[in-house]
């Protein structure tokens, strides 16, 4: 099941050329080259420790690359880090909303930081709460919500300021399959309204949900393309099989 | 016995691996003693004195010279206006002022008697009293030298400062400082060690092992006891070499008492950490429980006899006080167990009680 394909402006939303990051003697990200088109849902797959999070941190302006180039939303990651941050949303691997604040308060904080007006904050927060069905617990501390709801909330807050690109790092980790499904519905809604989504996951079945995907193994991109293309090229029936085949020699 | 040895070996291995932390842990007390030993003093010397000389004459000049020559004072300003004193006090420029009257020499010569006023900034009442006495002593010395009709009587006092002949206040504070520094070390070491294990879950692994709670506690305490003992020895050496604090009594006894004290402090640390499950709260309690009581209630700086009764009682429950008495006794007075058996017993009892309490608190806490 893949989402509708999008066409948009010709410059890619994200592009990386030979992007590299070293930590001392260890190369976490080894000259990766890829691009993500506007409105795509791009899957950034790989095993734990393959370098996905490091790559994302470089693209979101949290980490300086050791080599290579990259542009996000048209801005250079080396020199225009702050400009990038204005145009993107981010959901980190660790749950990073404030657990002692309520959903409403979290939304208000981030809305304010992204310079939304009071009215915008109010309206969008109501919409968000209604969409997620969280009205009843809108004023309870977030720590009281079960994990699945928290993840959905984090995603919605990341989208609150309607960024053109959103980075999701393992957003469905530890979440039950039903909630995962609901989560991907949210991702499709975002994509449908034109948001570019780069999502990392180690659940290979989620790969089928993406427009295009890449597979990282030990810091390198070993495969990139649409799910259908990749399965045909490598003669496998699922992305999971493809991953096992690619990861084995490593 | 073997499970215990295995635990000991594991702890030792952890500690030896983290050399840098070990170095910091040992350097810390040494640095603290150096710093605080130089800073925590109460000797009054070279006190800042202002002299108000409203009409300088031969007598006032002589008296001023006496003050200038005195070791106790350092003249910071001489002014003709008494009103200047207040400003000097407020700015902290002067600690005391001597006001010399107009016609001083004349009054002295015709026997009318002269009046000198000593004004002291008594914001710090402690220094205040001492400055009064010092200033008076200088004036009396001046008085004795003036030709006089009557023959003055002089009762001279030779003062012997027992147990602190050099009269350096550092001799008093350094033994107490040792207690302070050792407690911080001990409580922090255990609190961190145990709580970290609890949080990372290895405590469960230990508990399902054949080790009984007692063994676990001994196993965890012993390596840190060794570290603490080494730290104590370093501090004793430092006290001797850097501050020349006398060590008249038995070094062995002092070291033994130090070990006992560290044991009590470690036990306190364990007890603290069995009561909390979060490192943060453990730290907070460790700090609140060690810093305040050990600065104040151990007699380290402020004498316990000066405190109100409820606090004096509370102070008796703090191991710090007992060790300070022991350290001072052994180092300054050179006495041994025949005078110090009571304090030793109490310290030992505290250690035992705290260890037992932590062993008891250990098991149910994690069920």
């Amino acid at each position: 099941m893949s989402g509708p394909s999008k066409s948009g402006p010709t410059a890619p939303a994200i592009e990386a050329v030979e992007l590299t990051r070293r930590f001392g003697a260890f190369t976490a990200v080894d000259r990766i080259t890829f691009e993500v088109r506007h409105g795509e849902v791009f899957g950034f797959l790989g095993a734990n420790g393959a370098g996905k999070t490091t790559a994302i941190r470089m693209l979101t302006g949290l980490l300086t690359p050791s080599g290579g180039t990259a542009r996000v939303a048209g801005h250079d990651v080396y020199t225009e880090g702050e400009a990038i941050k204005r145009s993107i949303g981010y959901m980190s691997q660790r749950f990073s909303l404030y657990e002692d604040l309520s959903p409403r308060e979290n939304a208000r904080l981030y809305g304010g930081i992204y310079d939304l007006t009071t009215t915008e904050i109010r309206e969008r927060t109501s919409t968000l709460l209604a969409r997620l069905g969280l009205e009843a617990v809108a004023s309870r501390p977030v720590r009281e919500l079960p994990l699945g709801w928290r993840q959905k909330l984090a995603l919605s807050v990341a989208l609150l300021h309607r960024p053109s690109i959103v980075f999701l790092d393992e957003p469905t980790s530890g979440v039950d399959p039903v909630t995962r499904r609901q989560f991907w519905e949210l991702i499709y809604e975002a994509a449908a309204s034109g948001t570019t989504v780069l999502v990392t996951t180690h659940y290979m079945d989620e790969a089928e949900y993406c427009d295009r995907l890449s597979i990282m193994v030990a810091g390198r991109i070993s495969a990139i393309g649409t799910p259908a293309e990749l399965k045909r090229q490598h003669g496998v029936s699922s992305i999971d099989d493809l991953f096992v085949r690619l990861a084995r020699p490593a | 016995m073997t499970p215990l040895l295995a635990l000991l070996r594991k702890e030792a291995y952890h500690i030896r691996r983290d050399r840098r932390t070990l170095a910091v842990v040992l350097a810390l007390p040494v640095v603290q003693v150096l710093l605080f030993g130089s800073a925590i003093r109460t000797d009054v010397k070279q006190a800042r004195l202002a002299i108000v000389d409203q009409a300088p004459d031969e007598a006032t000049l002589v008296l001023r010279n006496r003050f200038a020559a005195s070791d106790a004072f350092r003249i910071v300003e001489v002014t003709p206006r008494t009103s200047d004193l207040d400003r000097l006090f407020r700015m902290g420029k002067a600690q005391a002022g001597v006001v010399l009257p107009v016609g001083f020499a004349g009054d002295l010569d015709d026997g009318a008697g002269a009046s000198v006023l000593i004004v002291v900034d008594a914001t710090d009442p402690n220094i205040g009293s001492v400055l009064h006495a010092y200033a008076e002593a200088v004036i009396r010395g001046f008085e004795r030298e003036r030709p006089t009709g009557r023959r003055p009587v002089q009762i001279a006092a030779t003062t012997r400062m027992r147990f602190n002949p050099t009269r350096e206040s550092s001799n008093l504070f350094v033994p107490g400082l040792m207690a302070f520094v050792l407690t911080i070390l001990a409580t922090l070491m255990t609190a961190i060690s145990l709580t970290r294990e609890k949080e990372s879950g290895t405590i469960e692994a230990l508990l399902v092992s054949p080790l009984r709670p007692w063994s676990i506690i001994v196993g965890k305490v012993f390596p840190y006891l060794v570290i603490g003992a080494v730290a104590a020895l370093l501090i004793i050496v430092e006290a001797r070499l850097v501050f020349h604090v006398p060590l008249r009594g038995s070094v062995v006894l002092l070291a033994a008492e130090a070990v006992l004290f560290i044991l009590a402090s470690l036990a306190l640390g364990i007890l603290v950490s069995t009561r909390t499950s979060s490192q943060r709260v453990a730290m907070m309690m460790a700090m609140a429980g060690t810093m305040l009581p050990n600065v104040l209630l151990s007699g380290f700086i402020f004498p316990i006899e000066s405190m109100p009764l409820p606090l004096q009682v509370l102070a008796k429950a703090v191991p710090g006080q007992w060790f300070v008495t022991l350290a001072r006794g052994i180092m300054l007075k050179g006495i041994g167990l025949e005078y110090l058996w009571k304090e030793t017993l109490i310290l030992g009892a505290m250690a035992a009680v705290l260890l037992a309490a932590s062993a008891a608190a250990f098991r149910p806490r994690l069920e």
Binding site: L62, Y98 | I40, D109, A114, A122, A137, S306
Partner: protein, 367 residues
């Protein structure tokens, strides 16, 4: 700046909802003030005195009576030999032993000069010095009496005045300083802890990925704690006035103005600490260690004038030292802006340096 306000609002919510933090902010400081103010004193009640009268003449007995009647001493023993006195000194039961030699009266009659020995138990620290000056005063007065009726001779009448603290109340000296300690601990600890916690939990990363600037981030984080610090000061001051009756002779707005500046330094230091640690627990440890040093070397407990010269110079780098001096000057001495200009400018300089380096050191992007 709107962003900073949103962040500040969220911070306040955190503080109010976190029980541990609330306890730190409200309860612990209050307890600290109560205990500290009561315990931190060098005041001596009645000093125990041991008399060894080897003369037993009317002159010696008269001298002993002077001591007894002075109100400062409590005679705990009278023996004809030195042994018992020594023993009592060793046991720490006596602070002062007065030894009158067997030719006391005879010498006085013949030469108008005699000697006594004061054996002071210097273990008692600062008390020893004061006790000695009391004794010296009593001896001096007695000698003057013996000299006979007022002669036509240069006699100097020495008057004493205690400025700012006529009752020699130690609390008036300590509480203004303790307020500073409180405010320092709160400001530095909360800031360091708070940001370290965000690091630990990952919420800091989420903020780093937003367009919020370093300046806005720091403003949003610090402002709530800055406000809290001032509230603490107000609470503490009220407590000090109501419970301990400390004087408020200077301008309260001036005090709070200085506090507002000082807090910037304290908070800046907390911020700096948070950039070098990874966890809350580390933050607490570092804060504890640094604040400890600051407090013990600030002239809060022991006077700066008594420190080794190099240590005194070092204290110029200690912001606590300056605020303690200012606090005491304003509250106890009624100092005004002109009087505190020097320490105040140093604090201002610190504020600029600390905040600037904290801002520069804070990185939204890891290198």
């Amino acid at each position: 700046m709107r962003r900073a306000l949103y962040l500040a609002h969220a911070e306040l919510l955190h503080v109010v909802r976190d029980r541990a933090t609330l306890m730190q902010v409200l309860l612990v400081p209050l307890i600290q003030i109560l205990i500290l103010a009561n315990a931190a004193t060098f005041e001596i009640r009645e000093t125990s005195l041991w008399i060894v009268d080897l003369d037993r003449t009317s002159a010696s007995r008269a001298l002993v009576n002077r001591f007894a009647a002075s109100g400062h001493f409590d005679i705990v023993g009278t023996t004809p030999s030195l042994e018992a006195a020594n023993d009592s000194l060793l046991r720490g039961d006596t602070t002062l032993a007065l030894v009158i030699p067997d030719n006391f009266e005879a010498q006085l009659v013949r030469t108008r000069r005699s000697e006594v020995e004061l054996v002071v138990n210097a273990e008692k620290g600062a008390a020893a010095g004061i006790v000695q000056s009391y004794a010296a005063t009593i001896l001096g007065t007695y000698a003057a009496e013996l000299a006979g009726p007022a002669p036509p001779a240069p006699r100097i009448d020495i008057r004493h005045r205690n400025r700012y603290n006529a009752t020699l109340n130690y609390r008036h000296y300590m509480v203004p300083g303790i307020l500073v300690a409180l405010v320092t601990i709160i400001g530095t600890l909360l800031t360091a802890q708070n940001i370290a916690r965000e690091k630990e939990f990952g919420t800091l990363e989420q903020l780093n990925v937003t367009p919020i600037t370093r300046g806005q981030f720091i403003a949003g984080k610090l402002v709530p704690f800055w406000g809290l610090g001032l509230v603490e000061l107000a609470l503490g001051l009220t407590l000090g006035v109501l419970v301990f009756g400390i004087p408020v002779r200077g301008s309260v707005p001036l005090l709070f103005g200085v506090a507002a500046l000082y807090l910037l330094v304290a908070l800046g230091i907390g911020l700096w600490i948070s950039t070098i640690v990874d966890t809350q627990q580390q933050a607490m440890f570092v804060v504890f260690f640094i604040v400890n040093i600051y407090l013990l070397m600030s002239g809060l407990f022991t006077p700066i004038d008594s420190m080794e010269p190099w240590a005194q110079v070092l204290t110029q780098l200690n912001p606590v030292r300056h605020f303690v001096a200012i606090s005491r000057a304003i509250l106890v001495k009624g100092a005004g802006l002109a009087d505190i200009l020097q320490p105040l400018s140093i604090l201002a300089l610190f504020a600029v340096v600390v905040l600037t380096s904290a801002v520069l050191q804070y990185r939204k992007r890891a290198a």
